[in-house]
């Protein structure tokens, strides 16, 4: 590879830092994909892959994705929870890849809650 110049150091830093950002402290947005057996059966895996692809394409380094178990409301799976720092969590129901893309672009990046898909607001209200 070509030898680095001083400005190259900065570029490497920025690129790799965003890849490794999730090893640092709190992020702006946390998306939880509920991956119980029922969720997976209903297509949670595809939702998760879509989300990952969106993050990658948009270079959004402030979004972390976690998975969790079944929420107990199997008929509405796949479900995801979007928590934006300082706002109340929003739970979406019956998510599919298309809805996921919409939620990502509109809600996570631009802050508009996608009301038609919302199952509940707040963490424990299901």
């Amino acid at each position: 590879m070509a030898k680095l110049k001083i400005e190259d150091l900065k570029k490497i830093k920025e690129r790799v830092q965003s890849e490794n950002a999730l090893r640092d402290g709190d992020r702006r947005v946390r998306v939880t994909v509920h991956m119980g057996t029922c969720g997976i059966a209903a297509g949670a895996r595809e939702v998760l892959s879509t989300l990952m692809k969106e993050i990658e394409e948009s270079n959004a380094s402030d979004v972390v994705v976690t998975t969790s178990g079944c929420m107990g409301l199997c008929s509405r799976e796949p479900e995801i929870t979007v928590e934006i720092l300082g706002e109340e969590p929003i739970i979406y129901e019956n998510v599919d890849p298309n809805k996921m893309r919409q939620i990502f672009r509109r809600h996570i990046l631009q802050g508009e809650i996608q009301t038609p898909f919302v199952l509940a607001r707040g963490k424990e209200q299901v």
């Binding site: 590879m1 150091l9 490497i12 965003s18 890849e19 998975t67």
Partner: protein
């Protein structure tokens, strides 16, 4: 960019490799592929995470959950649960050593949360084999700044301003070292990195090299620019293959990226680094020896001057810094000297990395600000001493350093303080040692090391260390002589002054330091041929016997129980202990704390087996010993000390009379310990045997009241004073003299004197009782109060682990419904018409450390609260009542109201006619301690008499030969102690029946069979 939703950072340090992290990583790859998670979850192998004792370790981000001791078989479950279903696996969480509380988040684990990671900022966070991960965390930013924006003078000034001192041990200012080298004129100069980390117990440099090798390369390159060098060497020991490999990779990546080699970062600066593999010689850590070694010769030091800054490697100007020093440099330059010097103490700036090892719960790599108290490192980060043992000392600086003992736990760890305490900072090995450490053996160990590693060039080191080792070995093996300590001190000072290099000059440090703090243990080895810590095995048969104050022959009686020969076992017991039945019930069993079986599973229940023998064996018949000596001896106090002395003296043919104030003999065994722990008939039986020898016991007779001191003085030739410690210490608070406030021992005595009145209700504590204190008397008082029907709360001002009471007693009290409040101290006692109504208390919190290594309780302002109670029992300690001894006797009494002993004597007072022992000399202690005092007194009295008469010393009559069977099982099966059958708590509290029921024969034999026979000669 490639985004993963999760990163799994698997520790790939040497420690975790050894416990199987490579297999874990492979299993992870397989399992993630199986679930098609490879694109979502990235596995990264990092350098040493630092928490080596719990390896293999992995940390999962973004959650920051740490899993410990992960085995490859755990991986399928882990992937399925955590990565697929999002349910973290609790059984693999870190658990706090004492509470077993699981803590999932790495940030919250005390081991990590008290640290300040500067040098280790990347440990466990980056893949050390990927240069870009280092760059992403500001790596090489300092280098860029140094090369593009700074002159060599500015770099050196920044280093000087930062106050960074060499982390290799001596603490020489790094900037100054560089300045000297930069001022030397030469076309060739060298930058050398010392990675020959040879101190046993130190692995800081290894971890840094494994976790963050680029930090070292960056620091070296900055140094090169500062002094004008184009060539560097890293001298790394061959014992660190992984560090060598990671360095190798790092160097080639740095070259590839233009961060090493020619025209670095396009600034026109050239610098190259070569690794030089050490071949295993400790002395090569010394700077001139290291240079000689790189030159391909025997690594011997050379005299200075010339200093390396003038003529170092190949006679060219050179600087040598260690790994940790270089790892600091990049950040000092990048963030500035002010940032660096904001942390630390006046003369020691920044942080220090320690390899915390030895007897602490959390072994691993620790980085703290300079000046952090030793206690914080040992207790808050290290999690305290493992196995419930006591802290004895921390060893710093390895073979060149010394010990910091328990009384200095508050000492800030920085260069100056550590040196004042007789240790050195060293490169950062901190070995924590518990009560089982023998300082003489430790000094011998380090001297053996230095002697072995001495290069032989200069005489003081070559011959001096050898001679010192011989003396230390002699002391450890029982051949120590008077004057050895002084000889060691003299040799130490000569070697320090005259050896050529640091190895020799510092070699005597461990000896001097151990003599400074543990001189008494040296003396015990030399004068008594005894190793108090139970390490120097040439001095004893078995560690249990060595730990017993009276040296009971534990392995023999255990072997006899195993063979079913209880009667013989009983005879063995009585050879050293007149109260085996008592001790089988109430002894503090120091023997068990040294039992080697505990290293496999659990100590032998020696006390319980002893009790089994006395319950079931045939007690040998006692015959009166005829009086053959003309000297008459009086004993004051019929407790364990007095009765033991009386028995021993009677057996030697003396007429002994014991005076006792209370109606029955036994002292604290009768009036302190309640009958549910020690049934009266057991004690009575053993005292009757002493009477049967011909000892007269005169009860209800207080010397100074019922019989005058003068009369005793006139009627007897020698007098042994063993009145015990029967007076409670005052609380010193308001309301203490009101009705319903009892001293702990006074209450127990009253109860044991007037059991009928208390049980019948003529005397009462009322329904709610507060007991103050944490010793055995407090627990005894509380358990008696429960049996009298009261609701009992113990108030103790420190933490549970600080309670002096026996653990099994505390548990028993809790089972019986005693409530214990920790960190509470009484402030005042509220009264109504002169009678106790309430007690007002204050909550406490742990503060700094006292000289016993316990945390001092500090009041919490505004935390006062009041309990309504009917009685308060104050059991915060006892002292003797020695007012019966007239001043004109010349018997000296100290400020603790105890008898002083004559210089160098075990029981003779300052008046040679009077001897003293037991609690009245030591302050409140144990039954077995008092028995030991009684033996010592009888021996000294008899020796004095015979010496005065010009007779030869007493020789004990021939003992009946008892053949001790000897069978050892080759293979050891793990098997814990036999449980002692006990009364159910509900049955216990309705009366005073004995709680412990005793082993069955099967249990006793099984327990005795667990003995490892450490007494065996192999």
């Amino acid at each position: 960019m490639k985004v993963f939703r999760s990163h799994i950072l698997v520790c790939g340090g040497t420690g975790c490799h050894a416990t199987g992290s490579i297999e874990v990583k492979q299993a992870l790859a397989v399992e993630l592929a199986k679930h098609k998670l490879t694109d979502e979850i990235r596995v990264v192998e990092t350098g040493c995470n630092g928490f080596c004792a719990l390896g293999p370790i992995m940390v999962v981000y973004p959650e920051g959950i740490m899993y410990v001791e992960v085995k490859k078989d755990d991986i399928p479950e882990l992937v399925e649960e955590h990565f697929l279903k999002g349910r973290p696996v609790e059984r693999l969480f870190y658990r706090e050593a004492d509470t077993e509380k699981p803590i999932p988040a790495i940030k919250e684990i005390p081991f990590f949360s008290h640290q300040k990671l500067w040098v280790l900022r990347n440990k466990g966070l980056i893949d050390p084999e990927v240069i870009e991960e280092y760059i992403a965390r500001d790596g090489y930013a300092g280098l860029a700044k140094a090369l593009a924006e700074m002159t060599p003078e500015q770099i050196i000034q920044e280093m000087l301003d930062s106050g960074l001192r060499g982390r290799g041990g001596a603490g020489f200012p790094t900037g100054l070292k560089w300045k000297f080298a930069s001022q030397s004129k030469s076309d060739v100069k060298y930058v050398l990195c010392n990675a020959d980390e040879g101190d046993p117990g130190a692995f800081m440099d290894r971890s840094i090299l494994e976790a963050d090798p680029h930090a070292v390369l960056e620091g070296m390159t900055i140094a090169a620019k500062a002094i004008g060098s184009n060539k560097g060497y890293i001298y790394c020991r061959a014992e660190y293959p992984l560090a060598l490999r990671r360095l190798d990779i790092a160097i080639s990546q740095a070259k590839e990226y233009g961060l090493l080699g020619e025209n670095i970062l396009d600034t026109g600066f050239d610098f190259d680094i070569e690794i030089y593999q050490g071949a295993g010689a400790f002395v090569c850590g010394e700077e001139t020896a290291l240079m000689t070694s790189i030159e391909g010769k025997r690594g011997m030091p050379r005299p200075r001057p010339p200093f390396p800054a003038v003529a170092g490697l190949w006679k060219k100007p050179s600087i040598l810094n260690n790994v940790e020093t270089f790892a600091n440099v990049g950040q000092v330059i990048n963030k500035g000297s002010e940032w660096f010097s904001s942390v630390g103490t006046e003369k020691s700036k920044g942080t220090k990395v320690f390899a915390l090892t030895g007897d602490v719960n959390n072994v691993g790599l620790v980085e703290v600000p300079m000046g952090t108290p030793l206690g914080t490192i040992v207790y808050d980060i290290g999690g305290g001493i493992s196995g419930g043992k006591k802290f004895k000392a921390a060893q710093l600086g390895g073979p060149s350093g010394g010990m910091i003992p328990v009384q200095h736990l508050n000492a800030p760890v920085d260069f100056e303080t550590v040196a004042q305490l007789g240790a050195i900072m060293g490169s950062g090995g901190m070995i924590v040692m518990n009560e089982d450490m023998c300082p003489v053996d430790m000094a011998r160990f380090f001297m053996d090391f230095c002697q072995d590693e001495s290069c032989g060039k200069c005489v003081p080191c070559r011959e001096g260390t050898k001679r010192m080792l011989e003396i230390l070995t002699d002391i450890c093996e029982g051949r120590g002589r008077e004057g050895d300590i002084e000889l060691l001190e003299e040799m130490a000072s000569i070697i320090k002054d005259s050896a050529l290099c640091g190895l020799g000059q510092t070699a005597p440090n461990p000896v001097l330091s151990t003599i400074r703090y543990f001189r008494d243990e040296y003396e015990a080895h030399i004068k008594e041929k005894r190793c108090p810590a139970g390490v120097c095995s040439a001095l004893f048969k078995s560690p249990c016997q060595n730990a017993c104050p009276v040296g009971m022959d534990v392995p023999s009686y255990l072997a006899l129980v195993k063979a079913g020969r209880l009667d013989d076992a009983y005879k063995i017991l009585l050879r050293t202990n007149p109260f085996p039945g008592v001790c089988g019930r109430v002894c503090d069993h120091q023997c068990q704390s040294k039992c080697r079986r505990a290293t496999s599973d659990e100590a032998i229940a020696i006390k319980f087996v002893k009790r089994f023998i006395t319950d079931n064996g045939l007690k040998p018949a006692i015959q009166a010993v005829p009086v053959t000596r003309k000297e008459k001896i009086a004993v004051v106090g019929a407790g364990p000390a007095g009765l033991t002395a009386a028995r021993d003296l009677a057996m030697r043919g003396y007429k002994v009379t014991v005076y006792e104030e209370l109606p029955e003999p036994g002292g604290m065994m009768r009036y302190g310990i309640p009958p549910y722990r020690l049934p009266r008939n057991v004690l009575e039986g053993e005292i009757n045997d002493i009477k049967a020898l011909g000892v007269d016991i005169v009860c209800n007779t207080r010397v100074g009241r019922d019989i005058s001191f003068g009369e005793i003085n006139e009627s007897y030739d020698y007098i042994y004073l063993a009145p015990g410690a029967h007076k409670s210490m005052p609380l010193g608070i308001e309301g203490e003299s009101s009705k319903g406030v009892f001293g702990g021992v006074e209450f127990l005595r009253d109860f044991n004197l007037n059991e009928g009145d208390w049980i019948g209700g003529n005397k009462t504590l009322g329904s709610r009782v507060a007991v103050i204190g944490g010793g055995n008397s407090a627990i005894d008082a509380a358990r008696v109060a429960v049996r009298l029907g009261a609701e009992v709360t113990i108030l103790y001002r420190r933490a549970r682990e600080d309670m002096p009471a026996a653990e099994e007693e505390i548990i028993a009290a809790e089972q019986e419904g005693v409530k214990i409040e920790y960190f509470v101290a009484p402030l005042s006692i509220g009264t109504e018409e002169g009678k106790v109504r309430a007690i007002t208390c204050q909550r406490m919190k742990p503060g700094d450390f006292d000289s016993s290594g316990r945390r001092r309780p500090v009041p919490i302002e505004g935390s006062e609260f009041t309990l309504s109670v009917d009685s308060v029992i104050s059991a915060i300690g006892q002292k003797p009542d020695v007012t019966f001894v007239p001043e004109e006797t010349g018997i000296s009494i100290n400020r603790w109201a105890c008898f002083d002993l004559a210089e160098g004597r075990k029981s003779e007072t300052t008046n040679p006619k009077f001897y003293a022992g037991g609690d009245a000399v030591t302050g409140p202690w144990t039954v077995i301690g008092a028995i030991k005092a009684g033996h010592d007194a009888a021996g000294e009295i008899d020796d004095s008499i015979r010496a005065e008469n010009g007779e030869p010393p007493w020789s004990p009559p021939e003992e009946e030969a008892i053949d001790i069977p000897f069978e050892i099982d080759e293979e050891l099966e793990e098997q814990p102690q036999e449980k002692m059958p006990e009364l159910d708590p509900a049955q216990r509290i309705v009366g005073f029946a004995e709680v412990e029921l005793g082993y069955s024969i099967e249990q006793a034999i099984k327990e005795a069979t667990r003995c490892l026979r450490c007494d065996a000669e192999i």
